[in-house]
Symmetry: C2
Subunit: 411 residues, 2 copies
Amino acid sequence: MPLIVQKYGGTSVAGVERIKNVAGRVARTHKDGNKVVVVLSAMSGETNRLVAFANEASEFPVGREYDMIVSTGEQVTIGLLSLVLKEMGLKARSFAGHQVPIITDSQFGSARIEHIGSEAIMRELASGGIAIVAGFQGVDTDGNITTLGRGGSDTTAVALAAALNADLCEIYTDVEGVYTTDPNICNDARKLAKVSYDEMLEMASLGAKVLQTRSVEFARKYNVPVMVRSSFTDTQGTLVCKEDIEMEKVVVSGVTYNKDEAKISVLRVPDRPGIAARLFKPLTEAGINVDMIVQNISHDAHTDLTFTVSKSEFKRALKLVKETASDIEAKEVVGDPNIAKVSIVGAGMRSHAGVASKMFDVMAAEGINIQMISTSEIKISCVVDVKYTELAVRVLHDAFELGKEEVNEER
Amino acid sequence: MPLIVQKYGGTSVAGVERIKNVAGRVARTHKDGNKVVVVLSAMSGETNRLVAFANEASEFPVGREYDMIVSTGEQVTIGLLSLVLKEMGLKARSFAGHQVPIITDSQFGSARIEHIGSEAIMRELASGGIAIVAGFQGVDTDGNITTLGRGGSDTTAVALAAALNADLCEIYTDVEGVYTTDPNICNDARKLAKVSYDEMLEMASLGAKVLQTRSVEFARKYNVPVMVRSSFTDTQGTLVCKEDIEMEKVVVSGVTYNKDEAKISVLRVPDRPGIAARLFKPLTEAGINVDMIVQNISHDAHTDLTFTVSKSEFKRALKLVKETASDIEAKEVVGDPNIAKVSIVGAGMRSHAGVASKMFDVMAAEGINIQMISTSEIKISCVVDVKYTELAVRVLHDAFELGKEEVNEER
């Protein structure tokens, strides 16, 4: 009998009426002859309500007590879904993190799963029951309640699927799957039938917020097939899985963009060993994440160094870099928040040459100046003036023929 | 160093501002050189909110899943109080029922405490910390979350005080203590400095809703001194403790009343063995609690049988009794919901004669007809027409001189 893990997010369980819809889908999956494990988030809005209490109680509400408070929302929804399923005549049992148990480290607020005990859930499934598990939470080896950080329920679901050796992990959300690009920008954006873990990781970290990055890493590590789909329709979603031969034929799977970054350039830096380290150390110490870094070859023993940071940290970063720049005798520091990062992602790039030059050609033809370039094995990112974002996405989506019906589309 | 358990009810923790007030009191008790264990209820209104969800999810929301849901309110308040205390620079740690652990049986919704592990809390106290424990909840030996029933936080506090061998258990509530009678009826009602467990039990079950009955039973069993006091003032409260010689000198400690009962009389029942059993069996099966039962000596092999039930169950009970009455050939069944039970309670009754006749005299002098009488070692209850309730309470309060300053009043 196949074992399916289904995860429903906060909008899918916002209120008892919606929980009843979820129960209908769970019951159908169970009736179709599957063993079903359900992972739930808190009702949307509930975690914010609890966080507001914590903020009122403490200036820096973090750590063990914060997790004690914010983990209660999931405990409510799992109890409610179990009640509804029992009312429908089914056997169901809720599991808080410590009852599974989902053992984590003690990094309160962003704990990592270390081990999942499968015995109690397997017993419930073997007796014909449905197991309803609280997402987002775990317990450390001292019995303290921990949370996995925002969006952690995706990770709970994938980790459970791995631990239970499930046949499929379904992530129910408010979109129908993963698209070739943002449908708000390209009206011929197409839902992908399949996408590889690596592609999904690049897309997620580039701004396509469908699945939490950590959950995709988990899925890749344990080879868990993940189906992203909508809880409001019956449409087939997007399967995130291991790369296969069909996927390699597709050069580019999607075009993504990110407007949340800003660019900082340090001009005419003396090109000596240790300069980059000195420049980035204050940023690291201030907890500022640096994304793209580009350094060109030097002229006259001087070089230019450009990098991007999150827009919300731009001002702080600029101030820190200006302080360091005078120490290391750089000529000038220039900041620019009006940029966007446009990227193409595709597993097929590994075996196809000429993808990058095609990308540059297409953008040049539209007169879009490329300010920075960064590449990985399966993606190419260009920083451009923010005003060109939509234009760049559209011409790239067209050029790589992403709007066309995919040959190996599955139904 | 003395160990004090403090329990704060729902109105005392309704909102973060009030939790900060509680924190102030806890901090003062700690600073005064006591080890402090705090037991909290959920914010007032919160449990009702959760119950409303459960009622929407299921027609009969009971059992394991219901407890999973309604136990979350206390988890929020203990986390918040811990955050506030830490913000004040104190060491504090919250404990859910399963973390203490408070081991109960598996009677979900009305579980009974079987064992409390004191080790984790003692460790916290030994390190200079304050232990904040969720009231109302426990865990069974299979790791299921259980609840003790409404008002169960009092029981949690007293049971913890017993397990930790505490010097005092303080119950903070919205009244200043236990009074000689309802101050709304007698304006010279006086707060008692001390009351014995037995007196408190009679008072609680007779309608003086200050402490949950089960918590008093627990306190008596393990000889835990309990101080009932207000969380909104600094006034000394009422100490509920073992009966002492001073208490025996006081014949009557209080006058209580209960308007929530109704009377049912079965007239001219053939006086045969087993008749009473047949009469009450259908009520027991329907889950209807019978309070007072009075049966007089028989005349002509017939007797009259009168008993009281809760007003909310009066109609159901009357219907059932009428059905049985014809089977057992009783002449008539008469119901009367317009009654009140007025009682006097006092440990001194054990050693003082004439208390009952004084009570009857006082009521007769006012023309109050007594419909039923029931007595225990330390209380005498009379059922009267409901319209005489306040009058009866006042004349009894006067007659037993309860408004006067107590000789052994403690300050």
